[in-house]
């Protein structure tokens, strides 16, 4: 039953270079179903965060969206985000779709109390709101994410890393959005706290029917939380599908190598092979499939033409010419 709440189609984001635009995101397309958790996986620099910022139209001054559409399904019909003006976006931001950054100390204003920052978000989109009501709601949100309501009057630096992440989640929920994009929500946290935060996200998703786009380089996190996964490399998506299927029998050499990089607890005590080479420079990308210089399956055909996503299984797409691939993960894997 397809009920996409967020549809991204052929998104291109980049900045002007000497000979035309240099693209950081090249033709990214995916669908996020209502209430589903979709993981966007890939190594640092592959364009995951840029995609998230592009959706929210919060790109840094040098970058711009070159082409593509981003559609958000709201109670009032479909909103074409790429067509919205800055003013129009402000109505949509936080009320329909919100963003959770890494809860680093810099993500929250250090000189304002947490209650004020969350309260401001609520009041921004509901100017009539009564002061007591807002205060109650702030306490309620904090309790919801497992923080004592008493701590509302504290400052960001008074919270530990994990707690700050929860505050950011509470902030993201303030206006009851339909979609939450979480960008590396657990990266700076220790394993124990990671598990807690993930459990929290999962719980909230179920209780509130949120759709979650989880961006991370950590496949284990995706394996735990997401029903579907989209793997990104050098600005484009190379594989999408149900998490179980993708991780069990990956249909793209990059995914295979990525999974191979994660050692199995009960597996061989051997150092997993690193992926040779380095990610390409967006200003001078390889022709054809961008992964071919590092790919263990590369052939002549990989150097030419567009690599589009094609179905290779049940709701499972791959951009590799040689998919469907029978081989399982190169070494180790993620259960």
């Amino acid at each position: 039953m397809s009920d996409p709440v967020l549809t991204v189609d052929d998104l291109h984001v980049g900045y002007p270079g000497e000979e035309g635009d240099i693209e950081i995101v090249t033709g990214v397309s995916f669908e996020l179903q209502r209430g589903e958790a979709l993981g966007l996986a890939g190594e640092s620099g592959c364009g995951k965060t840029t995609t998230a910022l592009a959706i929210m139209k919060l790109l840094a001054p040098g970058l711009r969206q070159i082409s593509g559409t981003v559609d958000l399904q709201t109670a009032n019909g479909v909103v074409h985000l790429q067509k919205r003006t800055e003013r129009g976006m402000r109505d949509v931001r936080w009320t329909e779709i919100s963003l959770v950054f890494q809860g680093a100390i810099g993500a929250l204003d250090p000189v304002q109390r947490v209650s004020r920052q969350i309260g401001d978000a609520i009041r921004l989109h509901d100017p009539e709101a009564d002061r007591t009501a807002v205060r109650e709601r702030v306490k309620e949100l904090l309790e919801r994410v497992g923080i004592s309501g008493e701590r509302a009057s504290q400052y960001p630096h008074e919270f530990s890393g994990g707690m700050r992440q929860r505050v950011m989640i509470a902030l993201a929920l303030a206006c009851e959005p339909e979609v939450i994009i979480a960008d590396e929500p657990t990266t700076a946290l220790d394993v124990m706290t990671q598990a807690q935060v993930l459990a929290l996200l999962e719980e909230l998703r179920r209780d509130l029917g949120l759709a979650l786009l989880l961006i991370t380089h950590d496949l284990a996190v995706i394996a735990e939380t997401c029903e579907r996964v989209a793997v990104m490399y050098a600005g484009s998506i190379v594989e999408t599908g149900p998490t179980d299927a993708v991780f069990a029998v990956p249909q793209h050499p990059y995914t295979q190598r990525l999974l191979g990089a994660f050692p199995l607890v009960g597996g061989e005590r051997a150092l997993p092979p690193a992926i040779p080479g380095t990610p390409p420079d967006p200003a001078d990308p390889p022709s054809g499939c961008r992964f071919h210089p590092r790919c263990h399956l590369a052939r002549e055909a990989c150097w030419h033409g567009e690599m589009a996503l094609r179905p290779v299984g049940d709701d499972h797409d791959s951009a590799c010419l040689f998919a469907p691939l029978q081989q399982t993960a190169v070494a180790g894997g993620v259960r």
Binding site: Y15, A60, G62, L63
Partner: protein, 315 residues
Amino acid sequence: MAVSSETVAQLLGSERGPLARWLVGAVRVVRAIGRRPLGAFGLITIAIVVALALLGPALAPQDPLASSSFDFANRMQSPSSAHWLGTDESGRDLFSQFLLGARVSLIVGLVAGIASAVIGAAVGICAGYFGGWADRGLTFLDDWFLVLPFVPFAVLMAALLQDDAESIPGGQTGIIVLVLAITGWAGTTRIVRAQVLSLRERQFVERARSQGASHVWIMRRHILPNVMPIVWANTVLIVALSVLGEAGLSYFGLGDPDSFSWGTVLYNGFQAGAINQGAWWYVLPPGIAITLFVLAFFAVGQVIDESSTPQARRL
């Protein structure tokens, strides 16, 4: 007329001695700075001033100290073909004075600036390297000097030293350099110390100590080279401020009346009532010259700053 690094190296003989290497590096830096329009403006202006400093006395049509230059019948004349910048209150040619001004302003700025930088760097290195009580003491001293308001302090010192003008090398001008150096070193210390602190943590210092290297050796061999880039960048700023400082102190009549630094000419003009007489030709040229000269240093400093900021900031 670009000079390539290779040409310079060749001119100095094929063996790349340390001097040759230093010159090659310097040429490269200058070219990098000159590539930016702001940097080009800065470098060209400084070059012009240096040229004036060197050639000024030779080019000046008149020597303001010579008795023949006095011409009271023609005092405070506006610019004419005979006197491009008019005449002063004694009838002397102002253009000559202008040409001479570059020399003193430049020398004072450079000497005071470099002296400040050397003292500041030395104190900063010691404070950062030795740590403990030495650091605390030196930092307190540094903070204290930074707190003191420059003008009252400088004025007081200069006034006190006036009597001993003969015993201080350089006379009146030497006093100005001394006062500027004493009031100017504190800024450098702070940044140098910060840099040294970050270096001290590094392992190579510990290793060197365990190998029996003396403090001085470590400071010279390891700390100094790492600190020099910041010191250079900071020196550019300090020299600019010293030039301004010289103009200020000269304005109080503390300068050598026989030297015609731009600051002194401004002072003379003011004393002669040039302003009330509307004699703009007297005061505008030296003032604009100082402004452009100082601006040139700031421009170069800005370019150096920009090139050391990571490009990632843009995105």
